[in-house]
Symmetry: C2
Subunit: 405 residues, 2 copies
C-alpha cells in the first residue's frame, strides 16, 4: 500500500470544492451556526445514516436524495437546531432550505443535501435559515474548509478536519473531511455529522461500498456515552475534478483510494472521541484472542461503554476488575482464568489474576497519560476488535445536566 501524504484544507483540500461558515442567528451571540459545502460540478454522493428509528427531517431528506442517485452540488449544514421531532413541517422546512440554497446557487434543488445538528423538537427558524443562505453563498471560498468545520460545531471544543493525498493512475487525488460531535456519541452511528470530499471520479456503487466500509472501521468504532443520536450522517462526495477515469472496485489503485477514505474517516472519528464531552483521556481498547471477531467486538464495546471503567480511567486507576467484569456481561465467551489485561503493554492482570503490587506505580504512570491503549487477550481464539473511547469526568455530568429543553 502506498504512503499517504497528509495535507491541509480539510473538506476543501480536494479540487473543485468551496465552503463557508457564517452566523445566521440560530445560536446566540453571533456564533457561527451555518455552513455550506459546494462542488463546482455535480458530485457522485454516498451516505451512511443513523440506525436510530427516530430520524430527524434532514436525515430523511438526505437518505432519499442519496438513494435517488442524482448527485450533489451542495451540502448545507446548520448547527443549534437538529430539526428532529418537528413533525411534517420539519420535512417541509428541510425541503424549503434546499430550495433556498438552489435559488442562491442557481442549481437543481434535488442536488442540495441538508443537515442539521443541535436541539431536538424546536421548529427550524426559517427566517434565520433564509438569512444564512443569503450570507453564506457570497462567502464561499476554495479554502473555506476551516470556517465551515467551525460553523458545524455544537458542544465541540475544537473543530475536526483532516485530509490526505494519494496517487491514482499516477495523478494526485485528495480526500479530505470535517466532522462534528462530542456527546450522544455511540456507533451505528454517533451524534455526529461528517462530510468527506474527494476530487477523484468514482462510480456511485463503488463510492457507497467504500464509505460503508470506512464508516464501519471508524465512526462505528467510537463511543463517548452510548447514546446514539437521531441525526447522524456521513456524506462522501466525489466530483472527479482531479481528472482521470472513473474509479471502480476493480481498479488497480482502488485499495489506495479506499485506504485514503478510511484514514480520513478514522482520523475524524478519533478527533470526535478526543473532544468527547468532559473527556480528559483518549483510550484505544484492543481485544484479541476472542473466540470470534464478533465476540471481540462485544467485549471491546462493553468495556468502552462502561461508565464504571470510564470513571476509573478518569481517576487514574488501572482498575482491571471493572474491565474483566464488563467482558463478563458483554455476551462474549470468556474464561476468567486465562484472561490477560495490559495498559500500554504493561500487564495488569495475567491468567485471571492481578499482577504483583510492585507493578502498580508503572501502571499508574500509564494511566496519567492523555492517551493509552488497553489490551485484553481472552486466549480463546483468533477474534480481534478495536474501539476508540474516552474517560468520563465530572464535567460530562456538568455539561449534560445543564438545562437544554
Amino acid at each position: 500500500m502506498q504512503d499517504l501524504i497528509v495535507v491541509e484544507g480539510g473538506v476543501t483540500a480536494a479540487r473543485g470544492y468551496r465552503a463557508a461558515g457564517v452566523s445566521a442567528g440560530i445560536k446566540k451571540a453571533g456564533r457561527l451556526d451555518f455552513a455550506m459545502l459546494v462542488s463546482e460540478r455535480p458530485a457522485v454522493v454516498a451516505g451512511v445514516f443513523t440506525t436510530n428509528r427516530i430520524q430527524g427531517a434532514p436525515v430523511k431528506l438526505c437518505r432519499e436524495r442519496v438513494a435517488g442517485g442524482a448527485g450533489a452540488r451542495a451540502v448545507v449544514i446548520n448547527s443549534g437546531n437538529a430539526n428532529a421531532c418537528t413533525g411534517p413541517e420539519g420535512l417541509d422546512n428541510a425541503r424549503q432550505t434546499a430550495r433556498l440554497v438552489a435559488g442562491g446557487l442557481g442549481c437543481d434543488e434535488g442536488q442540495v443535501l441538508v443537515c442539521s445538528t443541535g436541539t431536538i423538537g424546536i421548529p427550524l427558524p426559517m427566517d434565520k435559515i433564509a438569512n444564512g443562505v443569503t450570507l453564506v453563498v457570497p462567502a464561499l471560498k476554495p479554502d473555506g474548509g476551516a470556517i465551515a468545520a467551525h460553523a458545524i460545531m455544537t458542544t465541540d471544543t475544537v473543530d475536526k478536519q483532516f485530509a490526505v493525498e494519494v496517487r491514482i493512475d499516477g495523478r494526485a487525488v485528495r480526500v479530505g473531511g470535517m466532522a462534528k460531535g462530542a456527546g450522544m456519541i455511540e456507533p451505528h452511528m454517533a451524534t455526529m455529522l461528517a462530510f468527506v470530499t474527494t476530487d477523484a471520479a468514482v462510480g456511485r456503487e463503488a463510492l457507497q461500498a467504500c464509505l460503508a466500509r470506512a464508516v464501519e472501521r471508524s465512526f462505528n468504532r467510537i463511543t463517548v456515552d452510548g447514546d446514539q443520536s437521531c441525526n447522524d450522517t456521513v456524506l462522501l462526495l466525489a466530483n472527479g475534478a482531479a481528472g482521470g477515469a472513473t474509479l471502480e472496485a476493480g481498479h488497480r489503485d482502488w485499495p489506495a483510494f479506499v485506504q485514503a477514505v478510511e484514514t480520513v474517516c478514522r482520523e475524524l472519528a478519533i478527533r470526535v472521541v478526543k473532544d468527547g464531552e468532559g473527556a480528559t483521556k483518549f483510550v484505544t481498547v484492543e481485544v484479541r484472542g476472542a473466540a470470534s471477531d464478533g465476540d471481540a467486538d462485544l467485549a471491546a464495546r462493553a468495556i468502552a461503554r462502561s461508565f464504571l471503567v470510564k470513571t476509573s480511567w478518569f481517576g487514574g486507576d488501572p482498575n482491571w476488575g471493572r474491565v474483566i467484569n464488563a467482558v463478563g456481561y458483554s455476551g462474549a465467551a470468556v474464561r476468567g482464568d486465562v484472561v490477560d489485561i495490559a495498559y500500554d503493554g504493561l500487564t495488569a492482570f495475567q491468567q485471571g489474576r492481578p499482577v504483583l503490587h510492585a507493578r502498580l506505580p508503572e501502571l499508574e504512570a500509564v494511566l496519567r497519560k492523555p492517551a493509552f491503549t488497553l489490551a485484553v487477550d481472552l486466549h480463546l481464539g483468533q477474534g480481534a476488535a478495536v474501539m476508540y473511547t474516552c474517560d468520563c469526568s465530572e464535567d460530562y455530568v456538568k455539561i449534560n445536566s445543564e438545562y437544554m429543553t
Copy 2:
C-alpha cells in the same frame, strides 16, 4: 388478593431466624463487615445469580449448594472483599469459610452458604474471616436483622430491610429481607446481594419458581449504571417455623405468598436504586402502548440506562428529546409522530411534538421532586413494562473515580 401487613425485623422478621453483624477487620477502621443469618432448622433454599460469565467464587459455591438441594442452615456474608478473580484459592477460601461457620454452629458444612461483596481480585483474608466467625456466632440474635443489614453494606449510605406478614391457611406467615447495592447495578442481576427469609414451609421447586418470578419483577427491573456485577446473588430461605402444611404452587394461598415475596423483593430493589451512587432522584419509567411487552421492555431499559437522560433529570430538565432518542435506538418499534411522553401525568410531548412552552414551569416543578414517574406511550399496541432507576449526578463520577485498585 389479601392485604399485606408491613412489619419490622427485616431478615429476622420471620420466626426461627437469627442474625448478627460484626467487625472482622476486613474493612478499615472497625466498620461492620461480617454478617451471618442462621435458620434454627434446615431451610429450603432458592437462589438467583448473576448472568455475568465472570463469577465470583462465592457465586460458584452458592449456585452448587442451592442446586444440590440439601437446604441451608446459615448464610455468611462479608463486605469489603468480593472474592472474585481470585483463582482456585478463591473457591478454596469460600469453602474454608463455610467449614469455619459449620464448626462454629455445629451444623453440616454443605448447609452453609457464603456471599462476598467488595473489591475484586484481592485474596480473602482468611485470618480475619476466622476472627469474624468467632465474633459473629455468639452475637446471633432473633432481632439481629438490622445489624446484619448494616454489615453487608459497601458504598450504600443506608441499609435496606423490608418485611411483610400474610395469612396462609389462616396462619400468620412472614416474609422479610435485606439487600445491599448502590453501584454496578444493572438487571440480570444487579451488583447486589439480597437475602429473603420466610417462616412458611414451601416445596423446593415452588420456592425457586416463586423467587425467579419475584426477581424478574423487582431486581431485574432496576438499573443505576448499566454495569452488571459478577457477584450478584439473591437467596430465599423457607424454614417452616410458622407451622402448617408445605406450600406448593397449587395451594389456595399460593398467590398470596408469591405476592408477599414479590413485594419484599420489589421494595428492597427500589431501596437499592434510591441509594444509587450519587443519586438525587428516584424515577419510575413506564412504557405502554408498545407493539409487545418485549418492545416495551427494550424501550424502558434504554431510557433508564441512558446517561444523557439521567444527567438531564439531575439538571431538573424535562428533556423529552433525549427520551425519544433513547426509544429510537432501543430496538423497539416506534413511530415518532404518535409518541406521548408525560412526567407525573403532565404531558411534555404529544403525538411526536413538544407541548406548548407554557406548560414548562409545571413540568419543571415535577422534575424538582425527589421521585417522579416518566410515562411513555408508543400508541402501537398493548405492550407494557416498568423500570426503576435514578438520575446521574457529578457525585456518581466522584465516587467511582476514587482510586479502588
